[in-house]
Symmetry: C2
Subunit: 150 residues, 2 copies
DNA sequence: TTGATATAGATTAAATTAATATATATTGCA
DNA sequence: TGCAATATATATTAATTTAATCTATATCAA
């Protein structure tokens, strides 16, 4: 239930890509500079996004990353799920073979927990990358309906 | 987002107390035996419940713990909140003094996160200790409407 | 061919969680 | 009265997870 920096910076990377789409590919060096953090750390965070198909990349000179889908179609729920490990609902819980009531109660507890987590993700499903970046431009440039990107 | 054993055993303790209310106070030794775990670990987990007013205790010979409220009135949401540290919504986030857009986006991210967490807890608010223990007795003794506790 | 970039994996450091240990304070009971 | 059973408090160790860095390699464009 903690918003760890892994997730925070993961979202930051995708937001940065979203806000620089018009530049074509974006180099991690630039993102690291803008976000004032280590290149190596970001590289390690962007890899799962690559594997999950959120971003595409080009190697070599003038290489870089860009979003594989439009920012409207990428939700916070999907992003955060990328970093979830070892707590999937299907995770093999206690075995009911030699179970006492404690083991059965663990199952009830997990059921409740999984439903609550579902509610958590349902809420995040409603927020897309473009929601966040739109709010940000509004904050940066004022509430103008006419925004021209140079 | 992970169901850690701290929380799992925390709930187990309260459930154990709920299911042995008719015995008066319950000793942690007995719970440790029933739950097949270390007394010392459980003692450490029950303390926050004491501080939060979920249980009362009696020292000395024939001492022990018992629930301070009826199991219908204790929800999973409250229980789990007891173990939440360092991630309160009011936690002092990034300071907007010298902020660039990244810091502003962090705030947006946190807002979304906090709303999702709220949804999480709202769901757990609906499950009480007695819900869990009722389901357990049903499992143990069959779906009988007449249950006589000896 | 060279420099800029992504990719991969290993490594170290810090923080959190899990579990145990030691010592003390209370209380009931024989 | 004093002993044994219990809770309380704090400290310690071990395991796991998260954060961040380092080193080496593959690929591409100029």
């Amino acid at each position: 239930m903690k918003l760890v920096t892994q997730i925070r910076f993961g979202i930051r990377i995708l937001l940065d890509l979203a806000m620089h789409q018009h530049d074509g590919v974006v180099q991690m060096t630039d993102i690291a500079t803008r976000q004032k953090t280590s290149l190596k750390y970001l590289e390690q965070l962007v890899r799962p996004f690559k594997e999950a198909g959120f971003v595409t990349s080009r190697r070599g000179r003038n290489g870089g990353y860009c979003l594989a889908r439009s920012p409207q179609k990428i939700t916070l729920a999907e992003i955060i799920r990328v970093f979830e490990k070892g707590d999937a609902p299907d995770e093999s819980g206690p075995d009911m073979k030699d179970s006492g009531y404690s083991e059965y109660q663990d199952i009830l507890i997990r059921e409740a927990w999984d439903e609550a987590r579902q509610a958590f993700y349902n809420r995040l499903e409603k927020v897309s990358l473009s929601d966040l970046s739109a709010d940000t431009t509004k904050k940066l440039w004022g509430n103008s309906d006419l925004l021209i990107f140079i």
